[in-house]
Each structure stands twice: as structure tokens, then as C-alpha cells.
Amino acid sequence: MEIERAKQPVMTEKLQSLTENDIQELKKLCREMRKDILMMIHGAKSGHPGGNLSAVEILAVLYKKCMKTCPDWKNSPDFEKRDRFILSKGHASAALYSILARCGYFSIEELPGFRKLGSNLQGHPSCRHAKGVEVSTGSLGQGLSMACGVALGLRLDKNPATVYVYLGDGEMQEGSVWEAVMNASHHNLNNIIAFIDRNRLQIDGCTENIKAIDPLQDKLEAFGWNVIEIDGHDIEEIFEAVQTAKTMDRPTAIIADTVKGKGVSYMENNAGWHGKAPNDAEYEAAMNELCK
């Protein structure tokens, strides 16, 4: 498939603070991303709307304002200097593809191919298919270990890039995540910033009813991490948390309080929308709400 490249600067240097204009533009972008996500999942007749919609603001702020991005990907002379993003909860692939397309890694025209035969936009992200995807994910509990490996490699090379990793809160039930939590603190990998999408729901219901994750902050601190709690839909809080995390001498976890299904009222805080596509009428209602 031909990949169209949008005209974008090779590197976007991180900014120190957000202007009111930045915030308004990001809010607009988030609305567009939500529409992309719903269009993709509706078109594919499958996918995970809830956990994609809860990730939108964080992805937008990271890719547009925090990370050194590299839309030219391997063709760029600065490829090695890029910050890395690992989507450990690979089922939020639609949100990732949306922000990658909107940063110019590939054409927005590719988005409707999501989950369809022959598309680069596989159901869960594959780095051998889509440009901008660092590693393949989908099987939960592996992204943080992957981030540790990347961070150790960068450190050996004295490469100052940051590794961002995005985990689901239900994913914290995977034992391998805690192996990685120990790994990162043992090696003091302060080049890792982990977001935990605390939408409090997983497929079968509330995280706290299925296998309690709280007190998550205490647990992570006891494992030697720096922890910041934020509203995961507040653009300024996301940005500031990242700036703070970058000054830390330890790995930082940003526990992002989010709403599963955020932006589509009938999906919000409803576990039933974890892994189900909206039908035509539901899609229309959701798009109408987002266009308001």
C-alpha cells in the first residue's frame, strides 16, 4: 500500500509550556481523533471503543507537545534520537493509528482500512506493518518489559531519548508487569515514563471487583517508582506531569484517572463498550454528539 507522507518537520522539539491556543488546538485534535476512532471501529465492525476513547488526550499531548517525533521514520537522519512510544495496551490501536496519521506517519486515508485484510493497520499494532509503531503489542503485560529493554539500550548508547509506555489499568493484573516494575526501579530507568490508563473498567466489569488494583499509587511507590496522579483528560495536567517526570531520578508512573468511552455519553463508564463496535444508529448518534 502506498504511504502518503504529510509535510511535517522532521523533529518536533518539546515545548516548556502550553499556550491557550495550544490547548484549544489540542482539544480540537482530540475531537477529530475520537471521530477517527469511531469511524475505524464502526467500519471494521469490531474493536475496542472504550479504552481507545480514554487514551485520546494523553496520546495527543505526547505526540504533539512532548515527544521528539519522527514522521519520516527510518528515512530521517534523526531517527535514533526520537522518543519511543510503546502501546502496551495494544487494543487502543485505533487511537494510536489516529494520532500517527495526524502527525504524518502515514495518510489519514489509510485509517478506514483498520482491521481489514491487507491493511497495515492490524487489529493490534504491528511494527512490521505500520510506520511509527515501535514494537508489536496486543498480548497484555509485555510493554513495560519492552520499555525496560529499550531504556537499557538507550542508556548503553548514551542516547537521551525518553521511552513512553502506555498501560491499561486492568493490565496491572498481569504478573509480568510487576516483574518489569521491579526491573525499571532496579536499574533506575528514569528515561521511562509510564502512563496507566485508570478507567477502572475491564472486559468483565470493574477492576476493583474482579481483582483489585488499588492502592495503585502505594504499590508503585513501594516498588521504588515516582508516581503522579492526574486527570487523564486534562491537557495541561498531562503536559505538566510529563515535564515533572523528566526531572526525576527514578522511573515515573503517571496514573491517569480517565473515563472509559470518554466523549460518547452512552459509552462512558460502561464496560459493555470495551470490545464492541457501534451499529449504524449508535455510530450516527456518537458522531452527532462529537460534532456538537
Binding site: R128, S145, D157
Partner: protein, 316 residues
């Protein structure tokens, strides 16, 4: 290619692995090594001593070790990950499949203590299905070297090759079958190391020595056995297997592994599709192992040269 030295001195494959890693570490600064708290058994500790900054003991956390290796490979490093074959392939199967093989990352898994000869530790530690598990995953190359000479060459090859490789080493000390001056590893070839016309014996790993002993015993009974050494279980060198089957019309496979999924299966798959002849798979039956001294276990499971010869004569 074969060693002419008849001293029959047994050498540690694991020590050879450790020494080879150190040798490679001096030549290539991108080599990194990970272990899961078994570095004194797997002998990666030698590398750790020489290059502490490039050695990561991940602790008793095999899943973390595999995926950390995958992450390291994305920064241009060449990670070798070691632990026992049981835990490497059993505990971390999902990580190997999804985080290493699916993206085709350049990670080398060198697992020691493959097979029944783990010995006294018993069934919980005896990986009899690791080759089968690794052979199933797309993009994975699977190699089972037979002695120290070959192990040295295979590890060097793995460092040069771009892509995931699973290398299974035995705990057992073995005699050098191959001549270090003349042996060359070819990832595309199985080796006919003894020519014969009556029966084909296909083996690899530590059972190769037993297979050669078996061939000698058979020759005294006027059975002329051809011995094929197949270190690369995947991808299979079909040509060599088919050519030998055409010559002898009778094949036995011999391995220190379950008869399901290892070279027995690989040879059957190859021959049934291309040149069907009768194949008998010799290995560990579909059952768990048990504790015991290495040689006693080899006898119990009828994998020594003498036992093999008896079984083959009976089944010919």
C-alpha cells in the same frame, strides 16, 4: 569434518557457550547478555564478569527477561538470553511468540538443560517439548548443536544472523565429534557424517554421539547405517533427508526430546510429503521424565548407543 582424536575426553557445552560469548563480546560491543538467575549454570556469568555493563541479570523473571531482550534489540543490540530450556520456552512462550518472533526481533535464546539428562532435578526441570514449541513459531530458527566445536560455531553464526534463533544446549558434557580445524556450520545443511545403505539414522544434540556408537554396533551385525546430523531443526534441509531415504528406504530419528514435535516430526513431515518411507521416532514417549543420574536415565529411556542398536535391529 569428524574429530580424529580418540581420547574421548568429555567437555562442557555450557562452558563453551560462556567462552564463546566472551570472545564475541570483545569483537562486537553490541552483544548484550541476559540471564534469569541461572548464570552460573548457563555459564553466562563468564560474560557478566568480563562485561558487567552489558550483562543483565533479570532475576527469576523469565517473561521480563525475554521481553527486555526484545526491547534491547530495537536499539541495535544483539541480545543473548539464557536460562533452562524448560523456563525459557514454557514460562515465556507468549513473550517469545508475540514480542520476539512476530516483530522478527534480533534476539538469540540459548537455553541450557534441554532434555532428560537434566537428571536429578526431575520432570519439572526436564524440557522434553521445547524444540516442538519453538519450531511452531514463525520466524524462529531452531538449532540443536552436538558438541563444543559445533556450539562455538553456532553461537558465532547466531550473532551474525539477523533474526530470532533458539539454540538448545544439553547439561551433559560430551566428546568432541567434530574437528575444530575443519568443521564449518552451514545453517542450510544437515550433515551426512557416516555413509551407509541399509538404514538412515537422523539425530542431533547429545544423542548424536549415541547414534554414532549405535551405527558402529550395527555395522558389526552387517547393518550399514547412514547417520545424518541435523543441527538445524528449522528450517529443515529436506534435500539431504529425502536423498538418504531414497537410498535406504528406512529411517529412524533419535533425539533427547519428546517424539512429538522434534526432529522426529520434522523428518516425518518432510518424508510423508515428498518420499514416504517408514520412519520410527526414537526419543521420550509422550510422558514426563523423572529424577535419576544422567547415564541411568539414558539407559532407562533406551537412548544409549547399545539400547538404540537393539531397538533398531528389532524394528528393522
Amino acid at each position: 569434518m569428524l574429530n580424529k582424536d580418540n581420547t574421548k575426553e568429555k567437555k562442557s557445552i555450557r562452558s563453551e557457550y560462556g567462552k564463546t560469548l566472551v570472545e564475541l563480546g570483545h569483537k562486537n560491543k553490541n552483544i548484550v547478555v541476559l540471564d534469569a538467575d541461572l548464570s552460573c549454570s548457563t555459564q553466562t556469568a563468564m560474560f557478566g564478569k568480563e562485561f558487567p555493563e552489558r550483562f543483565f541479570n533479570i532475576g527469576i523473571a523469565e517473561q521480563d527477561a525475554m521481553t527486555t531482550a526484545a526491547g534491547l534489540s530495537t536499539t541495535g543490540k544483539i541480545p543473548f538470553v539464557s536460562t533452562f530450556a524448560m523456563f525459557a520456552t514454557g514460562r515465556a512462550y507468549d513473550q517469545i511468540r508475540n514480542s520476539i518472533c512476530y516483530p522478527r526481533f534480533n534476539v538469540k535464546i540459548v537455553a541450557t538443560h534441554g532434555g532428560i539428562t537434566v537428571g536429578e532435578d526431575g520432570a519439572s526441570h526436564q524440557a522434553l517439548e521445547d524444540v516442538a514449541l519453538m519450531r511452531l513459531i514463525p520466524n524462529m530458527m531452531v538449532i540443536v548443536p552436538a558438541d563444543c566445536v559445533e556450539t562455538h560455531e553456532v553461537i558465532k553464526f547466531a550473532a551474525e544472523y539477523d533474526g530470532p534463533v533458539y539454540i538448545r544446549l544439553a547439561r551433559t558434557n560430551v566428546v568432541n565429534i567434530f574437528n575444530p580445524e575443519t568443521y564449518k556450520f552451514n545453517p542450510k545443511k544437515a550433515y551426512v557424517i557416516r555413509e551407509g545403505k541399509d538404514v538412515t539414522l537422523v539425530s542431533n544434540g547429545e544423542t548424536l554421539t549415541e547414534t554414532l556408537d549405535c551405527a558402529e554396533i550395527l555395522s558389526k551385525q552387517n547393518i550399514d547405517a547412514e547417520v545424518i546430523h541435523m543441527p538445524v531443526v528449522k528450517p529443515v534441509d529436506k534435500e539431504t533427508i529425502i536423498a538418504s531415504a531414497k537410498k535406504t528406504n528406512r529411517v529412524f530419528t533419535i533425539e533427547n526430546h519428546s517424539i512429538i514435535g522434534g526432529i522426529g516430526s520434522a523428518v516425518c513431515e518432510t518424508l510423508s510429503e515428498n518420499y514416504p518411507v517408514k520412519v520410527t521416532r526414537i526419543g521420550i514417549a509422550d510422558e514426563f521424565g523423572q529424577s535419576g543420574e544422567q547415564r541411568m536415565l539414558m539407559n532407562y529411556y533406551k537412548l544409549t548407543g547399545e539400547c538404540l542398536a537393539e531397538r533398531i535391529v528389532k524394528n528393522l
